[in-house]
Symmetry: C2
Subunit: 200 residues, 2 copies
């Protein structure tokens, strides 16, 4: 398969790439990618990315972040980068990308545990993750030519312990291997319209 | 209680108003309201509304719609009015409105069945509804001064049969009384952080 990974230079994206590169052709795109540069906040940039990459069999997005911060200081201006990036960006990858996906191809988006178990300061991220989950339920019904779409919803990954653990007291760390497996299941398995929750 | 209903001139809003007006002071705001005009897509308009209304004990939003349309024609431009209205508008009602809510006051937002059971053509609305549900889970943890927040997630209401039933084949109609009761439960009950699902 020819697989496009957007956000392939992030903590999760790199490991997903390593795993899939053993048996597939991988193209990594991202804000700072050397191969294919893309700004998922920008529809035009997404279209240009797909045009340059050509037809693919799978599109994985591990890119996009949302605002974490005190609820009593939170305003729309803090939320909009995540709304236009992680939320509308991932949606645009599907709306635009479906024209570049081969029949039986798959999309795999990324949400997160906050959709159901938000941490303190995480109202923006919760909202974005909940939005992506529900979008995927709908999109799975609509995609034609046997295309599939799933979303991986990871908890706090072991590899992010140092960087993020203090923000998630009481959250169980998730083995990266389980997170990577969820992406593999989505790409190589037959599942469709699933919210692949990787947390406990 | 002094209760502000945004979208009080809509199908659901009117019935919620009727029910609550029996024992509370109701102020109805909306795009076309005679009393308090508000455009929930606009932070400034929301602030002006709260300034003009003053301190309240409950804020209910039944306003906001999202794009319904063919998935293969859907683009960001179709989704943004709903994203800035029903989604960010309701979030802004909370972020801004919490400063105007009395202690022990409540917010009641509105999502819908599409978050979990999207109909054909409903990817945009599914996404918005899922976002609101998850935002409410997070906001309920953050609100201080014993404030509460819930979201009513109605199915297709009996009163909307003629207008919308053809778009939702196989969806069971929900009695308006049950929908109104969910708003009453949120305002007068003790529930907090609940997604009040009114569908079967």
């Amino acid at each position: 398969m020819k697989i496009l990974i957007i956000g392939g230079n992030g903590t999760i994206g790199k490991r997903v790439e390593e795993a899939l590169a053993q048996r597939h052709e991988i193209i990594v795109a991202g804000r700072n990618s050397d191969t294919v540069r893309v700004d998922i906040q920008d529809e035009k940039s997404i279209t240009e990315m797909f045009e340059s990459v050509g037809k693919i069999n799978a599109c994985i997005c591990t890119a996009g972040t949302g605002h974490y911060g005190p609820f009593y200081q939170m305003m729309q201006q803090h939320m909009m980068p995540g709304v236009m990036g992680k939320l509308m960006g991932q949606i645009n990858l599907v709306l635009i990308g479906k024209e570049y996906l081969e029949p039986e191809g798959s999309f795999t988006l990324t949400s997160g545990i906050a959709a159901v178990h938000p941490a303190r300061n995480g109202a923006c991220v919760a909202m974005i993750n909940g939005a992506i989950n529900s979008f995927v339920l709908a999109a799975a019904q609509e995609l034609r030519d046997d295309m599939r779409i799933n979303v991986v919803s990871p908890g706090l990954v072991e590899d992010s312990r140092e960087r993020y653990e203090h923000l998630f007291p009481g959250y169980n760390l998730v083995p990266m291997k389980k997170v990577v497996n969820a992406y593999i299941l989505s790409v190589e398995g037959a599942v469709n319209g699933e919210i692949l929750k990787v947390y406990s």
